[in-house]
Every structure is written in C-alpha cells, then in structure tokens.
Symmetry: C5
Subunit: 326 residues, 5 copies
Amino acid sequence: MKKDFFNSTSLIEYSKETHSCDPITSLEQIDFNSDSKKIKWLNTYGTHHKNEFKSIITQSLLDDFLLKLISEEKHPNKVLELDNVLFVTIKVLKTETINFQTEQMFFILTPHILWSIQEQKGDYFEWIRERIRENKGIVRNKKTDYLLFLILESIIDNYEEAYENISSSMETLIQGSDVKPTPDFTQNIEKEKNTIITFKKAVTSLRDIITKLEKVEQQKINKKFYSELSTQIHNILNTIDFDLQEMESKINLIFSIQGHRLNEVMKTLTIFSVIFIPLTFLAGIYGMNFEYIPELKHHNGYFILLGAMIIITLVSVYYFRKKKWF
Amino acid sequence: MKKDFFNSTSLIEYSKETHSCDPITSLEQIDFNSDSKKIKWLNTYGTHHKNEFKSIITQSLLDDFLLKLISEEKHPNKVLELDNVLFVTIKVLKTETINFQTEQMFFILTPHILWSIQEQKGDYFEWIRERIRENKGIVRNKKTDYLLFLILESIIDNYEEAYENISSSMETLIQGSDVKPTPDFTQNIEKEKNTIITFKKAVTSLRDIITKLEKVEQQKINKKFYSELSTQIHNILNTIDFDLQEMESKINLIFSIQGHRLNEVMKTLTIFSVIFIPLTFLAGIYGMNFEYIPELKHHNGYFILLGAMIIITLVSVYYFRKKKWF
Amino acid sequence: MKKDFFNSTSLIEYSKETHSCDPITSLEQIDFNSDSKKIKWLNTYGTHHKNEFKSIITQSLLDDFLLKLISEEKHPNKVLELDNVLFVTIKVLKTETINFQTEQMFFILTPHILWSIQEQKGDYFEWIRERIRENKGIVRNKKTDYLLFLILESIIDNYEEAYENISSSMETLIQGSDVKPTPDFTQNIEKEKNTIITFKKAVTSLRDIITKLEKVEQQKINKKFYSELSTQIHNILNTIDFDLQEMESKINLIFSIQGHRLNEVMKTLTIFSVIFIPLTFLAGIYGMNFEYIPELKHHNGYFILLGAMIIITLVSVYYFRKKKWF
Amino acid sequence: MKKDFFNSTSLIEYSKETHSCDPITSLEQIDFNSDSKKIKWLNTYGTHHKNEFKSIITQSLLDDFLLKLISEEKHPNKVLELDNVLFVTIKVLKTETINFQTEQMFFILTPHILWSIQEQKGDYFEWIRERIRENKGIVRNKKTDYLLFLILESIIDNYEEAYENISSSMETLIQGSDVKPTPDFTQNIEKEKNTIITFKKAVTSLRDIITKLEKVEQQKINKKFYSELSTQIHNILNTIDFDLQEMESKINLIFSIQGHRLNEVMKTLTIFSVIFIPLTFLAGIYGMNFEYIPELKHHNGYFILLGAMIIITLVSVYYFRKKKWF
Amino acid sequence: MKKDFFNSTSLIEYSKETHSCDPITSLEQIDFNSDSKKIKWLNTYGTHHKNEFKSIITQSLLDDFLLKLISEEKHPNKVLELDNVLFVTIKVLKTETINFQTEQMFFILTPHILWSIQEQKGDYFEWIRERIRENKGIVRNKKTDYLLFLILESIIDNYEEAYENISSSMETLIQGSDVKPTPDFTQNIEKEKNTIITFKKAVTSLRDIITKLEKVEQQKINKKFYSELSTQIHNILNTIDFDLQEMESKINLIFSIQGHRLNEVMKTLTIFSVIFIPLTFLAGIYGMNFEYIPELKHHNGYFILLGAMIIITLVSVYYFRKKKWF
Ligand SMILES: [Mg+2]
Ligand SMILES: [Mg+2]
Ligand SMILES: [Mg+2]
Ligand SMILES: [Mg+2]
Ligand SMILES: [Mg+2]
Ligand SMILES: [Mg+2]
Ligand SMILES: [Mg+2]
Ligand SMILES: [Mg+2]
Ligand SMILES: [Mg+2]
Ligand SMILES: [Mg+2]
Ligand SMILES: [Mg+2]
Ligand SMILES: [Mg+2]
Ligand SMILES: [Mg+2]
Ligand SMILES: [Mg+2]
Ligand SMILES: [Mg+2]
Ligand SMILES: [Mg+2]
Ligand SMILES: [Mg+2]
Ligand SMILES: [Mg+2]
Ligand SMILES: [Mg+2]
Ligand SMILES: [Mg+2]
Ligand SMILES: [Mg+2]
Ligand SMILES: [Mg+2]
Ligand SMILES: [Mg+2]
Ligand SMILES: [Mg+2]
Ligand SMILES: [Mg+2]
Ligand SMILES: [Mg+2]
Ligand SMILES: [Mg+2]
Ligand SMILES: [Mg+2]
Ligand SMILES: [Mg+2]
Ligand SMILES: [Mg+2]
Ligand SMILES: [Mg+2]
C-alpha cells in the first residue's frame, strides 16, 4: 500500500538557484515544518491513500480538521483557511469528455509547500514543471502562492478553450441556417443552453474559489495573482451570459415566427372560405328541386347568376384588400 | 412533570481522555457556569418543558431574553447572539415525510455546553454519539462549536440525500418519455417545480443560519467549521437553481411544441380546404337546375370540367409547394 | 386644546420594583432630561397636537430637526438617528380593513423615555401594558429598546396573522377547483397577486426599518432584540415570495391549458373536415346535371362510389392515426 | 457680460439673528474664505457665465478641478468631493413639461457658502427664501447642509406630486374601462410604462445623489438630513416598482383574454362545422343523379333520412356536452 | 528591432512651467526611478516589442509579475495593483468599425510616469497632447493620475457618441413606421438588441475598471477623478438599460398584435361559416332526389324556404351581435 503511494507521489524542490526532483521513499521526506527555504511541490495521483494522508498530516502537525476533510468522499469546490495551512479543493471539469465528467483535486498550501492531490493520473500542469526545471519566467523567484496561481491558470485556460468550442457549435446551430420554428430546432437550442448552463455552473463555482483566495489574509497569499485570475474568469462568465441572452433572443424569435406563420395560414383559409362560401350557397339554392322556382325558368338566369357571383367575388376581394389582408 | 423532563433528557460529558453518559436526576446537575473543562452535550426531547427550561436559564444566569424566546410557539430559523450564550433554532425539514413536515430544534451554546432541544423523539445524531463514545475522529479534541458543526452537517447531509431523490424523480418525469404538450404534463412539471421550491426555501433558510454562524464573533466559534458547511449548502443550492432552469427550458419547449402542432394542424386543414373549395363550388354550379346552361348540353362537358378540376388542383399544389407548406 | 392633548396622552412609569400610571396634567411632567432611573412610556393618540409637540421638544432640548419632522403631513417608514434621540415612524397597515388603510405611528426614543404617537385611538399594545402592570416576563428588567421591540413585535405578529388569511384565500382560489383557463380566473389570480404585492410592499418597508434599527449604534439600542424581529419578518417575506412563485406557476399553467385546448378544438375540426371534404366533393360531382356522365348510367355506380368513399375514409383515418392525432 | 452676471446673481446672508439680501456689484463680494460666521446663499441663473465662474473659483482658491467640471456642456447627476468644496450637479426633471425636459443645476458647497447655479430663470425655492427672511422653522439655526437639504426636498416633493399625476392617469387607463385585448390598448399600456420608466430613471439617478451625500464625510455634512431625503425617495421608487408590476399583470391578462377569445371563436366554428358536415354530406349523397339509388325510391326514404340526421345531430351534441365544450 | 521600437515610442515631459517632447534614442532615457519631479508620458504603438518591454521593466526594477502579464496574448479589462506600479489594460471598442473590433491598450502607472502601450497606431488622445503643449486647462498642474483620467475620459466620450448613433438607429427602426408583427421586424429588433448588448458588455467591463480605479489606495491615485468618470459611465449604462426595456416593450407589443390579428381573422371565418353552413345544408336537403319530398310539391315552398333562411340569418347575426363579435 505504502509502495503504491510512493509510486504515485512526486516531489519537486526549487529555489532561485537550484532545482531537484527526487523520488519519494519514506514519509519522513515530507516535512511541512522543515526550515529549508526551498519551495516544495508535492504531487499525489489518487485520493484513496487515506492512511498515508493521515500519517503526513499528524506528523507535520497540520490542522487536525484536515483529517475529517480528507476522509470524505465528495467535495464541492472549497477554500478553507485552517490553522496553519490553506485547504483548496476543486471539482475540475474534464472538458475533453462529452458529458463533462469531473476530477477532484485537493491543494494543501503552506508558504513553502504545495501539496496537490489529484483523483486521476495525468494533468495539464507539465508546462509548469518545465518552467520550474528550465527556470523560465519568474516561477523560481516566487513562493507557493505563485505556483498555485499557475495551476489555477492552467485550469481556467482549459475552460476558456473548451468554452470557445461550445460557443462555436452554438454559432453553427443558430447562424448556419435560418431560425426554424420547429420543436426540433427549439429542442436543440434548449439542449445547447443546458450545456452552457452546466459549464457556467462549473465556472461560477471556480470563480467563487478565486474570489475567496483573493480575500485570504493568512498564509502570505499575494492578492495580485488571484486578482489576475479573477479578471480572466469574469471575462469567461460575461461571455457566457452574453451567449445566453443571444439564445433567449432566438427563442423569442421562434415564437414570433410561429405566430406569424399561423396568421398566414389562417388568413389563406379564411380568404378562400369567405369568397367561396356564399357562391357555393347560391349554387346550392339553384340546385334545389322545388317545382316552382321562377329564376330557373328565366332564359338568361344562369348567366345573370354567374354575373352576380363575379360581383360578390369582387366585393369580397375589395373588402380584404381594404383590410390589408393581402 | 419534572420526572418526564429527566426521562427525556440525556447528558454526555467528554474530554480528550474521558467520556461519560449519566442519567439526569436533578436540575443542579445542569450548570452552565461550572469550571470543569469537560465538554457537555445536553439533549432534551420535547419543547413543552417550559418550567424546567426557565429554572435552568435562571439558575445558570443565562441571558434572560432566552426566557421570552423559549416561551414562544413558532420559530423560523434563527441565530441570536445573546449576552453569554448563542441561541440557534432550526425548523428541520423531515425529508422522510411526504409533505415535508418540519421539526423544531433549539441549540443553546456556550464554549463548554451545548444544549439541544428537539420537538420530537429520535434524531440523525446517533453516529455523533458513537464517535464521542468510541473517540473516533477528532470530536473529543474539539469544543462545542465542533459538536454543533457535526449536528448541522448531519442535517445538511440528510437534505442532500433527500434532494437527490427529488432530483431523480424529476429526471424520470422529464426524460423518461418525450416532452408532451398536454396540460397534465405541464401540471406535473409545475408540481415538481413547487416541491423543489419548497425544498429550496428550507435550504436557503438553513444557509442563512450557516452564514450567520460564520459571522458570529463572540463565543469562540471557529469560523472554519461553518465555512465548510457553507460550501456544502451552497453546492445544494446551485444544483437546485440549475434544475429549476432546466425545468424552465422544458416549459418553453412545451409552448414551442404546442405552437408547432397548431401550425401543422391548421396547415393540413387549410391545404385540404383550399384545394377542394373551388372544386366543390364548380360541382355545385353544374348541379344547378337552370333550364338553359349551355355547358351541360356539350357532349364532353363532364370530361372537360374534370380536366379543368385537375388543372386547378395542380395549380393549388404548386402554390403551396412554392410557399413551402409541405 | 391643551386639555384635549392631556386627555389623549397617558404616561406609564416603571422600574424593576415599581409601576405607576398617572394622568398627565401639565407639560412639565414630561421631561426627557430627568435623572430618574425609571423607564417612561408616554403615549399620545392623535398627530394634530403640533403646538404641544413643539413645546415638549423645545423644553426637553431634543434635536430641533424633530420640529420639522413632526410638522409634516405624510411620512413613509423612517428611522432617523438624531442628536440625542432616535426617531422612528411607521405607516402601520390596518390589516382589519379591506383596502389596507394605514395608520401613522411615531416613536421618539431615548434610553429612559419612549414616546409613541398614534394617528388613531386604540392599538394592539394592551397586552404590553398588562405585562408591565403585572410584571409578567422580563419587560420591567429592560429599558426602552425592549419596549419598542415589544411594540414592533405586536405589529409584525399582526401582519403574520393577516398574511395567513390572505394566503389561505389564495389557496382556496387555486386549489378549491381546478385551474380554469378563463379570463375571469386569470383576473382573480392577478387581483390576488396585487393584494399580496401590496402587502409585501408594507412588510418590505417594515423590514427596512428593522434592518436600520439593527444597525443603530447610538442610544444603547440592544442589537439582539431587533435581530430577533429581523428573522421573523424575513420569514414572512420568504413565504410571500414563495406564494408569488406558486401563482406564477399557475399562470403559466393557464396559458399551457389554453394552448392545449385550442389544439384539441382545431384537431377535431380538421379531422372532420379532411375526412368529409373529399366525400362531399364526390357527391357534388355526381349531383351535376351534365347530359353525358357515363358513371351515372352504370347499374352499380352508386354502390361502387359508396365503396370508394369508405376506402377514402379508411385511408384518412389511417393517416391521422399514423400522425397520432387521435 | 459681467453686468449680465451681476443681474442674474443674488446673495442672501443670514445667521440666527440677522438676515440680508443685497445686490451683487463686484466679484470681490463673493469670498469663499471670509471669516464671517454668517451663512451665504449665492444663486446664479444661467450656466454660460464661464468667465465669472473661473474668476470666482481662482480667487477663492477652490479646487481647480472645478474649472474643468464647470467648462463642460452636459452633466449626468454627480456628487464629487473635491479638496475644499463639495460639487453637486443635478439634471432636474421639469415635471410641468410634457416630454420631461430637464434643467441642469449646480451646487457648490462649503460649510458657510452654498452657491447654486441654475440653467433657467425661476425655481421652486421661493418658499425657502421666505423661511429664511421670516425666520420660520429652523433654517436660520443651521448651516449650508440644511439649506441644500431644503432645496433637494423641494425637488423631491415636486417629483412626488408629478408621479401622483402620472400614476392616476395610469389608473384611469387600466380601471376606467375593462381590459381590452386590442393592440391599441396594449400600446397605451406600453406607452404609459415607458413614461413611468423615464420617470423612474430620473428618480433613481437622484436617489444615487442622495445616497452619495449620505456617505460624504468631509464638509461637516450632517448625515441625518440626507437620511430623511433617502427615505422619501425610496418611498417614491417603491411606489413606481409596484405600479410597474401591476402593469405587468395587466399585460399578462391581455394575453390570457386573447387566448380565451380565440378558443371561444374556434369552438363555435368547430361545433357548427362538426354537426353540419356529415348532414350536408348525406344531403349531397341523395342529391346525386345515379340512375339506380334504391333509397330514393323508398316511399318514406326522405323522412327516414331526416330521422337519421336528427339522431346524428343528437349524438354530436351529446359528444360535445360530454367534452364540456359548451 | 530596437530601432522600430524607438520609432514607435514618444516621450512627453512636462511640469507646471516646462514642456518637452524629445525622440527616444536609448532605453536608458526611460527610467521609472529618476528623481526628476517632471511628469513623463511615454507612449508606444505596437504590443510586439516584448524584448524592449522586458528590458525596461527589469532595468527600472518594476514588479517582475509585469513580465508575465506583458508576455500574454489576450487580455480582458484589468486593473492590477502591483508592488510599485499600477497596471491597467483595456480592450477598447473601436466604435468606428462595423463589428466593434477592439484594440488592446496597456497603461503602466507610477506617480511620475505613465506608459501607454497601444496595439494600433493612432488614437483619440491628440487633444490631450495639445492641452499639455499649450498649457490649456489644469493638466500641467496635475500628476499622472489626472493624465490617465483624461485618457479614460476620451475613451468614454467616444463610447457615448457611438451609443448615440446606435440608439438613434434603433429609434428609426422602432418609430419610423408602426410596429409590424412580421418575423423580419422581430429579427431586426433582436439584431439591434444584440448590438446594444455587445456594446453594453464593453461599457460594463470598462465600468468595472473605473470602479476598481476608484478603490485603488496605493499610488496616490486621486479618487475624485475616477468618481467623475464613474458617474459618466453609469449614465451611459442607465441609458442602455432604458433602451433595452423599451425594446422588450416592443416585442411584447408584437406578440399582442399577432394575437389580435389572429382573433380578427378567425372571427371573420367563423361568422361567415356559421351563417352559411345551415343555409347550405337546407339547400342540400331540397336538392335531394327522393321521389317523395312533400315540401317540393308545395307551390310556395321555394319562397317559404327563402323566408326561413332569412330568419335563420337574422338569428345568427343577432347572436353574434349579442356576443359582441362585431
Ligand atoms: Mg453567475
Ligand atoms: Mg454572471
Ligand atoms: Mg458576469
Ligand atoms: Mg442571461
Ligand atoms: Mg426566461
Ligand atoms: Mg421573454
Ligand atoms: Mg414570455
Ligand atoms: Mg434564495
Ligand atoms: Mg443560490
Ligand atoms: Mg446560485
Ligand atoms: Mg434563484
Ligand atoms: Mg432559475
Ligand atoms: Mg420563460
Ligand atoms: Mg421589494
Ligand atoms: Mg424579498
Ligand atoms: Mg425574501
Ligand atoms: Mg416570483
Ligand atoms: Mg411574468
Ligand atoms: Mg412566462
Ligand atoms: Mg428601486
Ligand atoms: Mg425599490
Ligand atoms: Mg426595480
Ligand atoms: Mg416589475
Ligand atoms: Mg414580460
Ligand atoms: Mg409575458
Ligand atoms: Mg453585464
Ligand atoms: Mg447595468
Ligand atoms: Mg445601471
Ligand atoms: Mg436604473
Ligand atoms: Mg433591462
Ligand atoms: Mg427577456
């Protein structure tokens, strides 16, 4: 069991000048109270190593409330300021999956150690490890708050890209062809809307994390990093809200088109009926078999009736024209 | 009367090292001012023991405003910071009942004593008593704020499970079959929506309690515990809001389908009518009994008319095709 | 004039041990600066005694801005922190009247004197006077802030009861019979909604008062009393919002039922028309009087035609069945 | 130019004991730094005296940012706390005009001088000048903050009266006759709604001013005056919101009535059609000219058919009755 | 590369008394730490000079987080308070383009230096340079916070003018002709709405910047300037919201007109049908060929039937009149 934990855990140590990445062989290597000025990034894949987690927490004298937190199954996004440590957990949307599965990640942060625990193997953080290794950018000049900032930025960047895909599929749906007032089209719009809302839920929840991190006072967290993330994530949320409003417009449009079409259909029926109903009635009258119907005997009766019918038709047409029905 | 109170009341005392659970035999045992460093959990079933409540409050020199509070019949959820005591009352949704009946619970909290008063016998807190008895987890290291945290967490967990049931019954309703634009279906959706809103009301009200507890400064309440509850309950609320929006979508869809069906029905009627109305009129014309209708004498009159009718039909069909009615 | 004022004014004085209720005979009796530790409750019926009000304010050296406030006709709800006095005015909804008439009440509060001025004779506060007289509860141990709390609680309790009536009449409207999609029913719903909104307006406005009182820092106002009122009034507001949402649901349902009924009606018409239109046309054809229509001569022509008509009918019925129209 | 400015400007000086109102003859008379304990109210009609404004600002050493502000053409409502002066500008709705024209007003305030600049001659403030002149009320005991309070109160009172007119014209529209589901009626409602919203915009904007004035800490502004204005203006806003909601209800009602009428119309058509269509078809059958139709020969054929038709009619009527169509 | 940077960069230096505008020839000229009391405005066209940017940041010992910020491609609007510098980036809407393209601008601000970096050549700021050159207004008395204020004011003024154009095109759409309930008209309204919402998004985002600048405490930023901008931008936002509500009204009106027209159409059809259907049926009855139909033999049968038909018609007309159908 312990061996499995050692295999799933890596430790990166760095300072302005040095960098090392040694395998873990004993729990004693992981000491949150060491005096070393080096920054340590401890990463564990798998959230099931409860025993090792407990050993580390107890041995490093971290807040014992971590014991309760770490032993629970499901977590929504959280930032908790504990006694000597900051606890962050995020349900990361796996944007590459179809139904937006999620991966739970934990971050336990002291000024010199960041311990990240991920539910599943593999992550988007390789570029950060590279920057540390090759001393790119300013990461080696900064503390763990900057490291957490880079990790969160990776997640947000990933969301941003994922939303661009969703958004462009929405564009195709809406603008590729004209808006059609069919249930299918409406259903597609509503489905797309639900996808966007699921996504918005995850982003909003992540924004709440960032907002809380901006307000953390303990732990020498540098506000400016999280202020930067905050603007990024607000930007995504604004785009989402804008798209949602655009969809609302489309739905309104669908109802309006339906109403218009119905009007057109009914006008057609009504005009036709109103013109022919009296004519057909007249024809019925003179199709009756009464013995004595004087008009029938009249030599030009038929032609007089046809003339009357034409006049009735013209009057009807004039009436509808005046009412601007066509 | 007093005997009834003693039977309904239990007292658990514990510290890091010790644990006891003795029966109550006199009111003097309940002393909020005792110097003992042990934590006491006093639990009473039944809110009608007004006399005993008053004796205890007066004898322990607790804030006399408690006297007024405790003598009232109905309470919404409340957190009140009194002079030397914190007063919390919650109307707990009994999620196992069909119409969401509620049970009133009171919590009177000082740093070393938590007094819980429940309207009805039985509760979801047995697991907490077990953890205290068997020294599981960290409960015996903590004070009454942690104990109240565990109690509130039980309630929230229960809500969470209950909402999962509601939510899955909603899923069945919406996705089990296609959306049907009938009043029955709409009514079911609206009923389900009302259930969810009732539930949301209870959860929102509990969230307000938690938010207030997070802000309590007196009483050495540890903020981190309630911050943890706060994230849990926000998570439920977000899920509820998401489900409500999904239902809104379905209702929009229903209206859209209704509109579409009406269009289909009316188009069918109109097309049929517009095609046959002139034909029937023509048949009526030549069914008239005028003595002199020259066409009737024509040998091929009937076949010429049938031909004319076919042409009229084709023109109508062409017209509707061009208008994309079918 | 002065005599009228003395008749309309009563003064209750009390402390933990004593209680008196003497008639007022001179303005000098009313001294806001007296050293006495007794609590005084001065109550005046009638807001027209402007001269006496001015005398008292000037003589007691109260903030002269009160002069301006007291001389105005109409007041919305207000809490004003003046120099040495707290000024509260409430437009109390007279819930026993049909159209929710209002009664203006003023409260002028210093730590030892509460002066209540009511527009109309009679009030809901007799039970408070009784509690003071008979030393029930804790009122005689507390100062004027508790007295004002009891008065406001009376008003809120009265609102609560009134809303229960409104709410149950709404229930009867909605659930007594099924929802009917008639304009009458809609109009009743909308009327009921307006009543609820009027009520909500008054409650919201009172809540704003309570919220302001919670924040008053001057005057030794005890926050916990108003915190208690705040939870009560929030509870009413939540219930109102819930009921409003339920009504919104009903209105949606009405529209849905209307749409469904229209669909049913039109389907009936269309099915009937589509089945009979071709049959009637055929009958019309063979009712024509052309000299030469070969089918008419055929011995079984009539029966063949009837057979054809049955086939056409069956095809139509099959078509509608397949389209699930019935 | 200067003469024009002197003619358009008046200066009122007052203290508890004295009052004077002298014509302005030189810019030196206007000294914001004078030691005099008297309160000065300087009023200028016309915003085009830019040169004189600049002279006064420079000479009195007021914040030079005023130079920029005063040289601009259009201003939304503003409260700016400058270095030694408070700058307030309001676009006052001229409620006596039909389309709500506006008049720009500037107020430059130090503890002892209030300088009001109005775009147009004439104002609602004559009653304030009278109160100062005749020492009515408490204005002569107070400083410039009270003077500005009285001016703002005049504006708010004027809005209140104007809104009462708008509101009562709305009442007439809605309740004078029944709600009619015609486009004209809807258009009137929407027009009225737009008027109310324009008005709300002005009131909301004024409220923002008041809220800012409540928060001003510099300048010895007395919070209580603006707190009083704040309750007044909130009251107007609440009434507006209530009226808007009532209109929303009416619009919902219109849609509901439209839907109901359509249902009635279509039911009438359908019932008539469904009853007569089969009867007319039968008449058509026996109007055919086939040589051999046995029923036609039957002596009582006609009466048997009439009997059958009556039965068919009764069945149809029974069917619609059972479906509760009428 | 460096030469390109020098060509794209200009440096304006000024104080109360002096003003100079020299070409840049070496990076050493740009020193954020110089002791000179003069204000410097450094402007660079082009955001691709990453190397030079890095040199300047490193050499001037500015916060190294700027390195990360400046190296990124896309930025939403941001205000970041860094260690010794304020970083502002704005995506300026290019209102002269049709689809609202944007131009990224960066502002790096210390009390004595403002460095503006613009994505594209040319700007709206020439009038500011003129005011500095010719010592107009108060710009030469103020620091860089006033300079940034002038720049932001240019951008807001530009937005204001742009919105006036959008708004007047909307007016034309809505009021130029009557509201027409066609899908085209609805689509135009929805398009216009989307344009306004895009614009609102940009303005809201700029407002967030201004709000943050108002709250900046570091850097000796003078709050009053940004308070002035804040009122300006709130004014635009209020106008936008008002226009959006007006559009919402129009859309409601469209639906109402559609509903009304449909009612008119259906009433016409129904009245015509209901009047003629029984008449035509009667004509059909007496057109039947039964051998024995006694009425047919009656000498005045035809005229009696016509009389009966007139009576039936009158009854129908009376019925519809009573129901107020026309
Ligand atoms: Mg959100
Ligand atoms: Mg949002
Ligand atoms: Mg947003
Ligand atoms: Mg939205
Ligand atoms: Mg919606
Ligand atoms: Mg809508
Ligand atoms: Mg709608
Ligand atoms: Mg809520
Ligand atoms: Mg929520
Ligand atoms: Mg939410
Ligand atoms: Mg919600
Ligand atoms: Mg929702
Ligand atoms: Mg909706
Ligand atoms: Mg409200
Ligand atoms: Mg509310
Ligand atoms: Mg509420
Ligand atoms: Mg609602
Ligand atoms: Mg609504
Ligand atoms: Mg709706
Ligand atoms: Mg408002
Ligand atoms: Mg309001
Ligand atoms: Mg509002
Ligand atoms: Mg509203
Ligand atoms: Mg609406
Ligand atoms: Mg609506
Ligand atoms: Mg926005
Ligand atoms: Mg806005
Ligand atoms: Mg706004
Ligand atoms: Mg507004
Ligand atoms: Mg709006
Ligand atoms: Mg909308």
